[in-house]
Amino acid sequence: MVLRSLRSPVARRPHVLTIAPATVDPALRLAVEADLARRRWPAADSPADTDVVLVLGVPGPRLADVVRAVWATVPAPRVLTGVTTTGAVRSVLDDAVAGLRGRSHAGNASLRASSGRESTSSGAVAGADDVDVLASGARSDALLAPEPQMADLAFYDRDGLALDALHVALGPVLPHWPPGLVVHATLAGDLITDARAEVLDVPARVGPGSRGRSPLGPDRTRLDVLTRVLGLLGADHLAARARQLRDRDPVPGELTTFGRRLRRHRPLRWAVRGVPLVGGVVEERTLEQRVANLAGALGGSLPPPVRPTAEKAVQALIGLELGTARLVLAALDPDTTLGAGPVTPFAPAEVAHHHH
């Protein structure tokens, strides 16, 4: 009864879990985020919090497995849908909310979803076929669903206590997470003691690629990073402002004003203080500096921020607490299109405990 009465507000403002492959067109990702913000649909924190699973672009086989694993844990009423072109975003989301209201989709674990009917400029409807959201031929070694296993002692240890280590795969379905990235991490408590990066379906390239250039342009890249960092920090109104500026063409004055506001925001500065960025991944030595530089360069003529490879960025997470590591990763904004891995998953640890 309670759940039924809650269903109509859920259908009005569903929580959306977006899943994007590393190769996703940034314009599509931004279009989806903008449309979700316009509708004031909140982003889901976790699969359990999700009403609509929205797959952006075309996921590769590994990511498709992840989508299946996620979908299996989403509670009903739920909708799984996908969008591949910017123009289709609006109609896909409209269909999703209709699906949540109607009984046809609710609780139905169909992996096929009604695709966006792409509207052309003339208003005609094109491409009305159902498109399979997931590519076929995927393997079954699903990566998501971090399942803690008791294992050997942690390799590096902050407190001198060699604690039991957990091997977990973080990502790729986490809020404000680089698209397609999986971090294979070893945790001691909530401390990351070892980490390796893998970008699903995009193996590391041999030789130097086009290093860290974002197709978004300097200011939009900065605002994109800031949106994620602020969102993770829970500074929701600042994050919303950053996203707003990112999604339209702001007057340069607005950018510098916003940048100054961020730099002068004492609670914000205090909240990101004291986190080192080790390994020389980017020119900044601390998280505070990185955020300050991102904010300070807004509206200026400086070159775009350096975006490290996923492998390098993940090295900077070792020794950090899980939540702090998430902040650092968001601030480093690794370029996942460069690929990383593949990594052989940790072998299932023997159950026996080390000192028994």
């Binding site: 008791m150 902050r158 407190d159 001198g160 206590l161 408590g189 080192p276 020794g319 159950v351 405990h353």
Partner: protein, 181 residues
Amino acid sequence: MIALVSALGAVAVVTGLLVFTADSMARATFLLLGSFVAVAVVLIGFGLGYLGTVVILMMTIEMMIMVVFMVMLMMNPAGLMPMTMVHNRRGSWAIALVVFGLLTAGVWLVPFPVRAGAATGGVTSGPAAGPDATVALGDALMGGQMLTMMTLGLALLATIVGTVAVAVSRREGRAERRGIS
């Protein structure tokens, strides 16, 4: 009153026993907390509202700390595999049973000098004929029993200093200097 004390007394004992049969550390801690809360409710029933509430407060915090230590230090935090970690089980049982027998015999055989008219009330009234129990306790601690209070204070101070001295290791300092922590 009889029903309250018997029921909660039984709860306290049973949860206490289960602590040592639980198959996971976290469960053991929560059972121990159950035992404490049962005792605390009896105290409140006796009219010791303040002390009963403080026991709940302190023990909940204490168990929270304990459970984190367990997960940190011990095998099997989540009950993934059954655990038994006993040694000398038979001897321990024998000692425990003898102690219980002696104490119980004492409890039931010794005639207690119950003060006449002291406690006649129901669950909530208790011996509330005199001044407020909390006020009386405070008066005592800050008056006649000041020595106790000072000793407790010193003991706590010694504990703070002692635990910090024992727990802080040199390695930790080094890690900090490396700028990692």
